[in-house]
Symmetry: C2
Subunit: 694 residues, 2 copies
C-alpha cells in the first residue's frame, strides 16, 4: 500500500515539473524584446485591461466560493478544502496564462518585425505553452497533492467542483466580454465610422484585444482545467472501486505521461522562415499523442498484468486520443473556408442575408451528427475493449477514454492559446503602425490560430462530453456504495455477473427518470438563450459608449484626440461580470433542486439529458458560428466579388457579415458555455449524490 | 368477454358517426354559393393544384408502402393488413380534408361579401370541422374495426406505423411545398416586382395558396391522425396488459367520448356580425374539453370500480386536457405580437437584421423551457395519480394523459384547419378584386387563424411528446412479454412490487443505452438540417421560374398576359416530392439500424434521446419562427415606423422581414417534421421490438 502510494508522488512531481517548465518558458519569453515604446504602451494597456477583468471576476466570485466552502464544510472538512483549492488553482492557472499571453503579444510582433515568421511562431507558441502546461500541471499537481493528503478519491472530488464553478463563470463572463467588445468595436468603428480593424482611433480597440485574451485564453483554459480535474478524479473514483489504490493512482500517472509528452512535444514545434506554421504545430501534436500512447501502453500492461486487462484499458485510452484527432478534423471540415459547408453558406449569401442565415443554421444543425456518432462509437469501443476480460471493467474504459483525450491537454491548450497571442500581435502591429509585412506575417500566424482554435473547440466539447459521462459513472458508483441510501430504499438489489449487488437502477421505464431527462435537456437551451441575449445587451452599452466618444472627444477621428480606452474596458468588464451571475446561479442551482426535490434517479436522468443536449447545442452553435465567420472570410479573400464591387459595398459580402454577426455570440459565448454547464452539474451531483434519500 | 367486446363497437360507431357528421357538414357547406365566376375559377385552380399534389404524393408513396406491407406480411399477415389500412386511412383523411378546405375558400369569401363576418366564420369553421372530424373519426373507426377483427392490440399497432409513415412524408413534403411557393411568390413578386400579396399577376400565387392547404391542412391533419392512432393503440396495449380486454377497450371509449364532445362542441362556435371569432372558437374548445372530462369521469370510475383506480386514471386523462390548454397558451405567449418576446425581437430590429435574428434565436431557445417543465410535471402527475392504488398502474397513467390530450383532436384540428380556409378566402377576395371590406373581414378571420394555428402547433408538439412516451412504454411492455427475448438473455429478472418478473432494464448506467441516446439525440438535428436546406433548394427553382415568367410572358405585369400558374404548381410539387424522400428514408431506416445493429436497449435509449431533442427542436424552431413572423407583423401594423417612412422602405421593417424569412422553414418545415419523426421511430420500434435478440 505504502509502496503504491509513491505513485501519487509521480503525479505530483510531473505536475510540478510542468509548472516549473511553464515558469521557465515564461522567463525565456520575457527576455525577448517588446519592440518600440508605442508597442510596449499598447501591450501594457491590453495587459492592464485583462488583469483588471480577471481581478474583478475573481473578486466577484469570492463570496460565492466562500458560501459553498462553508456549506461543504458541514458535509466534510476535506471537501471544503478541496473545493477551495480547486477554485484557487483555477484562478492561478488563469492568472499565469493571461500574464503570459498578454505579455507576449508585443514580443511576437517584434519577433515578426526584427527576425521573421519562424521566430514569431516560436515566441507565440512558447507563450501558449505556458498556459497549456500551467493548466495541465496545476490540475495534476492539485489532484495528486490532495490525494496524498486525504488518501481518498471521493473527498477530493470537490476540487473538480471548485474548478468547474470558476470555469463556468470564466467561460460565460469571458464570452460576454469578448463579444460585447468585438461588436462594439466593429459596429461603430468598422461599419459606422469606416475605420479599419484594430485602428487606434477606435475607443473599443483595446477592449477588443483584451476580449481575445479573456475569452479565448482564460475561458478556454478554465474550461479545460475543469475537464482535466473532473476526469482525473472521476477515473480515480471508478478505478479505486475496481482495483483499489492502484486503480486510483493509474489515471494520475496517465496524466503524468501526457504532461511529460506535452513538454517534449513543445520542442517539436519549429518552423523555418518560409515554412508552414500549421505543419509545425501538427508535428508537435502528433509527437505528443504518439509518446503518450507508447507510455500508457507500458504503464497499463504493467499495472494490470495480474488482471490481464492492460491491453483493453490501453485501447480505451487510445480511443480517447483518436477521438481527439477525429473531432478536431470534423470541426475543421465544417468550419474551414476551403470546404463545402462554408462555401455553401457563401453561395447562399448571393440571395441575401436570410438565405445566408438559413444555410448557416443548416450547417450547424447538420454538423452535430457525425461527431455524435464518433462519441457513440468511442463509448461503445472503450466499453467493449475494457470488458474483454471481465464485464465489470467496462465502465472504467469510458473514464479512461476521457482521460486519454485529456492527457494531452497541455499541448492542445498551448496550440489554442497561441492564437490570441498572434491575433493580438497583429493588432499591435496595426496600432503601432509597423510596416505592412509585419502584419502579413502575424496574419499568417493568426490564420493558423483560427484552425487550432477550431481544433481546440472540438477538443473542449468532446472532452466535456466524455468528462460528463465519466462523472455520471462516478456518480452512480458513489450512490451505489452508500449504505444509507441502500437502507433508504433508493437502491435496488440486482444480480450482476452472477452475484447479488445493490445498485442504482436508472431505468428509462421509470417516469421520474424521463422527468429528469426532459428538465435536463431543456436547461442548455435556456442557458444558451440567456447568454445570447446577454451579449446583445452588453454590446448595446458598448456601442453607445463608442458612439459617445466619437461624438464628444474632439479630434478623435483625426488622431489628435486620444480615445478613452479604459472606459470601454471598464464597461465591457462591468457588463460581463453582472451578466454572468444569472446563468451561474442556474447552472449550480437546478441540479440541486432536481436532486433534492426529485431524487437520485431523476438527477441521473437530468445529467443524461443535459449532457446530450448540451453537447448537441455546443456543436451546433460553435460550428454554425465558425462556418458563418469563415464564409465571410472566404468572400473577403476576393471570392464572389470580395468586399467591394466598383467601390461600392458588395451586397453578397454584406449578407455574409450579417451571418457572421449572428454567429458571434453562438460560437464565442453560448456554445462554449455548454461545456462547463454540463460539467458543473456532474461535479455537484457527485457531491450531493450520497445525500439524496429518495 | 363477448359482452365487453361490444364496447369496441362503441368506438367503431362513434368513429363512423364522426365521419357521417363530417360528410353531412361537407354537403351543407357545398350548398353555399361560390360567388362570382372569377372566384369560382380561382378556387378551382387552387383545388386542382392541391389535389394534383396529393395525388402525386400518394402515388410516390405506393411502392414504399407496398414494400413495407410485403415485409410485414412475413412477420404476420394481420400486421401487413393493419399497416395498409393505416396508410389508406391517413390518405383518405387527407383527401376529405383537402377537398373540404379547398372547396370552402371561395364560399367563405362569398359569405363575407354577401352576408358578413358571422357567416364567414360559420362556413370556414364548418370546413375545418370536416377535416377535424375525419381525422378523429377515421382514426377511431380504423383502430376499432381492426380490433374487432383481430381481437389483439399488438398486431394492429402497424395501423399506427402506416399512419406515421404517411404522416412523415405529408409533413415534410407539405412543409417544403408551402415554403418554396411562399418564398417564390414573396421574393420575386413582392420584393422584386413590387406587387402586393396574392396579386393575380404573380405566377406563384396559386401555388402559394395551394401551399397553405397542403402544409397547414394536410400536413397537420396527417400528423394528428398519426398521434391519434398511435396513442390509442399504445394505451390499448398497456391497458390490455394490466386489465385484460376492458383495459384495451377503455382508451377507445375515451376516444369515442372525445369525438362526441367534439361534434357537439362544433355547435358552440357561432358569432354575431361584430362579435369576436376568437371567443367563439374558445367557447367551442372549452365546451369540448368540459364534456370530455365529465364523460371520462363516469366511464373511468365505472370501468375501474373493482380496482379502485378510476379517479386516478380520470385525473391522468384530465392532465392531458390541461396540458393541451397550457401548452397552447405558452405557444401563444412566445409568438403573439402583443407579448414581450415578439416585441423584444421587433425592438432588436432597430439595430439591423443580425440583432433581429439573434434575439429571435434567443426567444426560440428560451421558449422550450417552461413547456418542457409542463410536460415533465404532467408525466409526474399522471404517473403519481395512476399509481395511488397500486404502483403497477403508473405507466398506464402516462398513456391515458396522452389519450386525454388527443381525445379532443377533432375540435383542435377543426380550429386549425379553419385558418387556411380564411387565409385562402382572403387570397381569393384579392385576386377576384372584391371590395376592400371583404378582405378586411377575411383578414380578421385570418388573424384568428394565426392564433389557432399556434395553439394547434403546441397541441401537435405536446401530443407528439406524450404519444412518443406512450409508444415507448408500449415498446418496453411488448419486449418484456416476449418469452423468446427472455430466453435470449435480453431481459433481466427483477423483483418488482414483491414478485419476480422479467423486464427490459434500460439502465442509463449501461453504455449501450447512452450510445442509443447520443445517436437518437442527433437525428432530429440532421433531419432539421436536411429539410431546412430542401426548402432553400426548392425555393430557388421557384424563384427562377417566376423570374422567367415575368421576363418571357408579354404583358404579364399589365394584366394582359396570363401567368402560367400550373407550371409553378407543378414545380413546387416536383420539388416537394423529390426532397421528402431522403429524410423519409432516414426516419424509417435509422431506428431499424439501431435496433437490429445495437439491440433492444440501445433502441430504447435511441427513442428517449430522439424524443427529448425532437420535442426541444420542434418547440425551438416553431416558436422562433412564429415570433419572427409576428415581430414583422407588429412592425407592419404601424409600430416603429411601419413598412415605409417618408415613402422609403423602413430599415427596421426590412430587418424584420429577414428574420421572418429565416423563420419560415423553421416554423413550417423543419419544426413540424420533428413530430412525425419521433412517432415513426416509436411505431417502428413497437413492431420490431420482439425481434431484437440482443
Amino acid at each position: 500500500m505504502q509502496e503504491s502510494m509513491q505513485l501519487a508522488w509521480i503525479g505530483a512531481a510531473s505536475g510540478a515539473a510542468a509548472l516549473l517548465f511553464a515558469l521557465f518558458t515564461m522567463a525565456s519569453v520575457l527576455k525577448e524584446s517588446m519592440g518600440t515604446p508605442k508597442m510596449k504602451e499598447i501591450s501594457e494597456a491590453i495587459q492592464e485591461g485583462a488583469m483588471a477583468y480577471l481581478n474583478r471576476q475573481y473578486k466577484t466570485l469570492i463570496p460565492f466560493a466562500l458560501i459553498i466552502t462553508v456549506l461543504l464544510y458541514f458535509v466534510a472538512a476535506p471537501m471544503a478544502i478541496s473545493f477551495l483549492v480547486g477554485a484557487i488553482c483555477s484562478a492561478i492557472a488563469g492568472y499565469i496564462g493571461m500574464n503570459s499571453t498578454t505579455k507576449s503579444n508585443a514580443r511576437t510582433a517584434e519577433a515578426a518585425r526584427s527576425v521573421g515568421l519562424g521566430k514569431a511562431l516560436n515566441v507565440s507558441f512558447r507563450a501558449g505553452a505556458v498556459m497549456g502546461l500551467s493548466v495541465a500541471g496545476l490540475g495534476l499537481l492539485g489532484v495528486s497533492a490532495l490525494f496524498i493528503i486525504f488518501e481518498n478519491a471521493t473527498v477530493i472530488n470537490s476540487f473538480a467542483f471548485g474548478a468547474s464553478a470558476i470555469a463556468f463563470f470564466a467561460r460565460v463572463g469571458g464570452g460576454i466580454y469578448t463579444k460585447a467588445a468585438d461588436v462594439g468595436a466593429d459596429l461603430v468603428g468598422k461599419v459606422e465610422a469606416g475605420i479599419p480593424e484594430d485602428d487606434p482611433r477606435n475607443p473599443a480597440t483595446i477592449a477588443d484585444n483584451v476580449g481575445d485574451n479573456v475569452g479565448d485564453t482564460a475561458g478556454m483554459g478554465a474550461d479545460l482545467f475543469e475537464s482535466y480535474a473532473a476526469t482525473t478524479i472521476a477515473a480515480m473514483i471508478l478505478g479505486n472501486s475496481l482495483f483499489g489504490l492502484k486503480g486510483a493512482l493509474f489515471p494520475m500517472v496517465v496524466g503524468a505521461i501526457g504532461i511529460i509528452a506535452s513538454i517534449i512535444g513543445t520542442f517539436f514545434v519549429r518552423t523555418s522562415e518560409d515554412g508552414n506554421p500549421q505543419a509545425a504545430l501538427n508535428v508537435g501534436l502528433w509527437a505528443t499523442n504518439f509518446m503518450t500512447a507508447i507510455g500508457v501502453y507500458f504503464l497499463s500492461t504493467w499495472t494490470f498484468a495480474k488482471e490481464g486487462v492492460g491491453i483493453g484499458i490501453f485501447l480505451a485510452v487510445l480511443t480517447g486520443l483518436i477521438v481527439n484527432v477525429v473531432v478536431g478534423m470534423l470541426t475543421e471540415y465544417y468550419t474551414s473556408n476551403s470546404k463545402a459547408p462554408c462555401m455553401r453558406i457563401a453561395e447562399a449569401s448571393k440571395t441575401g442575408p436570410a438565405t445566408n442565415v438559413i444555410h448557416g443554421l443548416a450547417v450547424g444543425l447538420e454538423s452535430v451528427f457525425i461527431p455524435m456518432l464518433v462519441f457513440a462509437l468511442a463509448i461503445w469501443f472503450a466499453f467493449w475493449t475494457a470488458s474483454w476480460v471481465d464485464a465489470k471493467y467496462a465502465i472504467f474504459g469510458i473514464a479512461m477514454a476521457a482521460m486519454g483525450m485529456l492527457s494531452t491537454a497541455g499541448m492542445v491548450v498551448a496550440m489554442d492559446s497561441f492564437g490570441p497571442v498572434a491575433d493580438n500581435a497583429g493588432g499591435i502591429a496595426e496600432m503601432a503602425e509597423l510596416p505592412h509585412e509585419v502584419r502579413e506575417k502575424t496574419d499568417k500566424l493568426d490564420a493558423v490560430g483560427n484552425t487550432t482554435a477550431a481544433i481546440a473547440k472540438g477538443f473542449a466539447i468532446g472532452s466535456a462530453a466524455l468528462t460528463a459521462l465519466a462523472l455520471f459513472q462516478a456518480y452512480i458508483d458513489e450512490v451505489t456504495r452508500s449504505v444509507a441510501l441502500q437502507q433508504a430504499g433508493v437502491l435496488t438489489k440486482v444480480t450482476e455477473h452472477g452475484k447479488e449487488v445493490w445498485t442504482l437502477v436508472v431505468n428509462l421505464n421509470d417516469p421520474m427518470v424521463i422527468v429528469g431527462i426532459f428538465i435536463g435537456g431543456a436547461v442548455p437551451f435556456l442557458v444558451a438563450a440567456i447568454t445570447m441575449r446577454a451579449v446583445g445587451d452588453a454590446a448595446f452599452g458598448m456601442v453607445n459608449e463608442v458612439r459617445r466618444q466619437f461624438r464628444e472627444i474632439p479630434g478623435i477621428m483625426e488622431g489628435t484626440g486620444k480615445p478613452d480606452y479604459a472606459r470601454c474596458v471598464s464597461i465591457a468588464t462591468g457588463a460581463a461580470i453582472s451578466k454572468m451571475v444569472a446563468p451561474g446561479i442556474l447552472a449550480v442551482g437546478v441540479p440541486l433542486v432536481v436532486g433534492f426535490g426529485l431524487g437520485a434517479k431523476a438527477l441521473a436522468g437530468f445529467l443524461t439529458g443535459m449532457t446530450a443536449t448540451g453537447v448537441l447545442l455546443a456543436l451546433f452553435l460553435a460550428n454554425a458560428g465558425g462556418a458563418w465567420d469563415n464564409a465571410k472570410k472566404y468572400i473577403e479573400a476576393g471570392n464572389m466579388g470580395g468586399k467591394k464591387i466598383d467601390g461600392k459595398p458588395n451586397p453578397i459580402h454584406q449578407a455574409a457579415v450579417i451571418g457572421d454577426t449572428v454567429g458571434d455570440p453562438c460560437k464565442d459565448t453560448s456554445g462554449p458555455a455548454m461545456n462547463p454547464l454540463i460539467k458543473v452539474a456532474g461535479t455537484i451531483s457527485l457531491i450531493i449524490g450520497p445525500l439524496l434519500f429518495r
